[in-house]
Symmetry: C2
Subunit: 81 residues, 2 copies
Amino acid sequence: MKAYVYVSLKKSVLDPQGKTIYGALNKMGFKGLEAVRQGKFFEITLDRDLTKPEAQAEVERIAREVLTNPVIEEYRFSFED
Amino acid sequence: MKAYVYVSLKKSVLDPQGKTIYGALNKMGFKGLEAVRQGKFFEITLDRDLTKPEAQAEVERIAREVLTNPVIEEYRFSFED
């Protein structure tokens, strides 16, 4: 079982890296873009022995306590078999 | 309409950052993990005027030509209204 944790900057936080990419894409001639924001994700491969609720609790804790800076970031996660 | 482009290292490419996170999580006592790999994603907000096929072609080009280093990375993308 694999878990995917997606960490992104909160909407209220400026994303200069995304802005730079947005500017570059515009200069390169890509049309129809309004904004670009960048985030990161983590693919976590889990033991097969874990039950789904155990896995969910574990991944939630990892996302909240380790992978995310709660001051400026938020997370979501999903599972895939 | 929003597009999400997910860029990750090819399976055959070592991911030292992911390995470090994996090691740290193990030391912190998280059980049941087999591997961690890190990637990045881009949230691209698109003009409402674009049709779905146009948007798809545009995002595919951006992902392939700009956001991904084809030597070591691969991408996938999805849409959300």
